[in-house]
């Protein structure tokens, strides 16, 4: 998937691999800079640390990291996990809107991306953040759809998302007036990024 995306975006692919025992070398950095102790966030922070180390090692001039974080919070796309008969991360019966509000509210308490990449001197951009108001306007009825994320992605980006990525063939979803409004807002949010930043060579995580 990464190779295909890089090919389509016309950017070089940087592969970062690490042995399990080396992964934990970053634990102190992640705990301190990530300001988080939840196991799933520490795990994500460790992966980010490996990526940050690999990106920093390229010594690229003015690197900038784009990440896909926040989408799960904005779309309340978190679920219980079952593993070997055990259920982890149990969630109470909340409406998707209430769950989303809780997840968004808590974002201030973790620095698993910004802090960890900053430890290697790398600035990051979380593009989903620029459209936060638009995401928070999504109603419960939409959030309950099993393919809400795919529908939204297709509605906003249309044919720019290749079918291999979304699992939905292009042009199968027609944008309603409401959806077209979403698209305008998202595009506006993207252009609101400082142009100097937007023109920099990027790294996508």
């Amino acid at each position: 998937m990464a190779e295909r995306l890089c090919h389509d975006l016309g950017i070089p692919l940087l592969k970062a691999t690490v042995r399990p025992e080396r992964l934990l070398d970053h634990l102190d950095t992640v705990l301190v800079e990530g300001i988080d102790w939840r196991d799933f966030n520490v795990h994500a922070g460790l992966v980010n640390a490996v990526l940050a180390e690999a990106v920093a090692a390229t010594k690229a001039r003015e690197p900038i990291v784009f990440t896909g974080d926040l989408a799960n919070e904005f779309l309340a796309d978190y679920h219980e996990e079952k593993y070997q008969g055990e259920t982890y991360y149990r969630l109470p019966r909340l409406s998707p809107g209430a769950l989303r509000a809780s997840l968004v509210r808590g974002l201030d308490t973790s620095n698993r991306e910004v802090g960890v990449f900053a430890a290697w001197g790398l600035p990051i951009v979380q593009p989903y953040a620029v459209a936060v108001d638009a995401y928070l306007d999504l109603p419960n009825s939409f959030l309950r759809l099993p393919d809400a994320k795919q529908q939204l992605c297709r509605s906003v980006f249309g044919d720019l998302v290749p079918s291999f990525r979304s699992g939905v063939a292009p042009r199968t979803l027609r944008a309603s007036p409401r959806r077209q409004s979403w698209r305008r807002r998202a595009v506006h949010a993207w252009w609101a990024l400082p142009r100097s930043r937007a023109n920099q060579r990027g790294v996508v995580t």
Partner: protein, 86 residues
């Protein structure tokens, strides 16, 4: 049930659930629980489950994202308002 009653129960829940020490001088009922790292996203989900179970209220999404809903006092105010309107 007064606002102070609700505050008492919320504070007790938070102190036990998140192991906040009795001598933690930074913890107070008017402290922003998120900015100061006492409650994270999962913590708020747990707190919300406690509130709905204990006080039999449903918190509106707008209230969840309001400035009020960042402190114990503010949360108690929201809970009392919901109880009165339900």
């Amino acid at each position: 049930m007064t606002q102070d009653d609700v505050s008492d129960q919320l504070e007790a829940f938070l102190r036990i659930q998140y192991r906040i020490r009795a001598d933690d001088s930074g913890f107070a009922r008017d402290v922003d629980l998120f900015e100061h790292g006492y409650v994270d996203s999962v913590g708020l989900v747990e707190l919300l489950a406690f509130m709905t179970g204990r006080f039999d209220v449903e918190i509106d999404d707008d209230d969840l994202l309001s400035d009020d809903f960042s402190t114990i006092q503010g949360m108690a105010k929201v809970v009392c308002r919901q109880v009165q309107t339900s």
